[in-house]
Amino acid sequence: MEFLTNPSVVGFLVFIVLLLFNMPIFAALGLGALFVIVFMDAAPLSVVPYILGGSLDSFPLLATPLFIVAGAMITRTGISERIVNLAQIVLGSLPGGLALTTLATGAIISSMSGSNIATVAALSFLIPAMAKVGYPRPFAVAVVAAGCTFGVVIPPSLGMIIYGVITEQSIPKLFFAGIGPGLLMLMILGSCTFLISVKNGYRGVPVERTWAKFFEALKDAAWGLMAPVIVLGGIYTGLFTATEAAAVAVVYLFAIDRLVYRKIKMSDYPDMLCASGKTIGVVVMIIACSSVFAWIWQTQGLAAAVTQNLMDWSGGNSHVILLMINVLLIISGAFLEPVAAMYLLVPMVQPSLVAADVDLIHFGALMTVNLSMAHLTPPVGVGLFLAAKVGKVPFETAAKWALPFIACELVVILLVTFIPAIALFFAGYV
């Protein structure tokens, strides 16, 4: 009973109720916090503006707006079409060839974009294309949504940056910890798509599979493919930080568009940047308001209580703790926006992870895969929702077709949980 009158818990319940009644996430968080500050004296009123401002005043977090701008530019420069052409020559003629091409393109786009939403925007033109070769529309939508979940797993990654900011872990290490899980996702999602396609008789597309064609397409996509080389290479060699890499990516995309692609007019930039600014605004308000919540949890001793319980239930076994946290993440990911979930959950579970001797880089990769899957899971899956909107398919139908892909990602989550090397192998190189 005492637990239920703890301001942290009361505030959380207020937040959930407001959220379910269509209150914007930031306001639901903010009002939930305000409620317990005013009525339960959980904090001085003056705390809020400082936590809001302070949570945003961070150099690593600056990578967020930059990668969002880079994502907008990737969509506009038409880089994804060029990468699709390339991937199609390799995979197109297999059963379900266009779906496989979509997944591969998603993985490649993810190596230059930092978020799932940016990736789904860059991939969504493939939905009508897949429908045209005879795949069911909901299947095409689910494939695109699955393809977008590489976004935060394969570096660069907004999720990893935010996790790194909260836990003060090395962002380059976290980035590289995403490579293994990302490749594993590609293999498992790819195999699943292949099997579904064979079973349902989805054909490939007729492509001329020659080296000449391949090199021609490679040459055509080369400028775009250089972006991840510069970004990840720069971080890998220590030439620049993740934030600087994001700025370099923006400048590079600007330069190749000016010099080669010529798709974005100079006069388009203010509108494009304003649209990006609004997206950034949504993310920062969620970050700022979740931080106020986290402040209350911290000072009301909720993290300590959670740690105590997790340790008691698990007997301190790190695998059991990770499994329990995974379940918690899946449930939160079903409803919550991933950024908010990260800000709310990480401070709560971090002490248990430290107590159970879990590597925080390993957990960062695991959490990112888990919360990336949240873009697929109903009732609130932002990636699937956007794909369904573009594909003009009801969300519920799309969610049914996404179930096999959700199952695939659950397998990835289990593998990454029990085999830390999947995440830590590449992280060891930076």
């Binding site: 904090a43 001085p44 003056s46 705390v47 400082y50 936590i51 401002g53 302070g54 949570s55 005043d57 961070s58 003060e168 220590g238 931080s291 402040w295 911290q298 000072t299 401070p347």
Partner: protein
Amino acid sequence: DTIKISTTVPETSNWLVAADTFKSIVEDKTEHTVEIYPNGTIVTGNDRVELEMAQAGAVDIIMKTTIWLSQLKPEFLVTAMPWIFPNAEVAMSVMDGPVGQDLSKSLNDVGLEALAWGDGGFFQLYSKGETVTGPEGIDGVKIRVPGNPIFVKSWEAVGAVPTPISFAEIFSALQSGAIDGGVATTPLIYAKRFYEVAPKISMINFSFESVGMIANTGFLAGLSEEDQAIVRAAALEGMKAQRAAAAAEDAGYITQMKEAGADIYVPTEAELNSFKDIAAPIYDNFKAEIGEELVSTVEAAVAAAN
């Protein structure tokens, strides 16, 4: 009630010795409980915000160095003046006296009061080349100093080339040869492994930082007179324990760096004086900002304590 103490340094810092001592005394003698939050967890890990939150009373007590406090009142720069204190004992005796009390009072109009002062350490010199024993050894050498004008001007006066590199980049800049050395407190030289690339360390006691236990005045006013006295005494006790811990820790780091192959040099009094003499013109530059009287008072107090 609960008293919230925030600091942006990690649990392992010797500053926490002060906080822990304070906690045990206050909880023992009063009805209050003390909660200690290291790593800046309740101030978003941000020093600027922490200082603002203390002024607003959003946290009750913070621990901040004189350099940070100089962003509110420039007179706090007096402890940072080059070679103004010969060693930590003298520096602490000055901060315990009228100078420390006056500095504390100067914070009252922004809602703060320093309960007690501790030892934040001296900036020492680490470099790659020959061991630096006097100003002539540093002539034309590129060294990294914190961006504060006092530091920059002092090293220009000594003849070095101060290079403004962000703290995170020091290690790689030393490796690449972009800088030849820098100044930092002993715990930082040890923790950031600067001694591995710049193993010549001269204990020149260049500039001192004092760390204050800073309370919000509204919080203090809300305590009974009896509790206020206990809180102030506990802060003094805490800072005494911190000074001892800092001295022991520095000695330990020096031993460990020596064992790791670093070359630690302790200059003679004459060598230190030659540094101080060559930096003397700096005092005229900063007297207007810091206050001529304050600088003279500190110099007199140092002379008396020596």
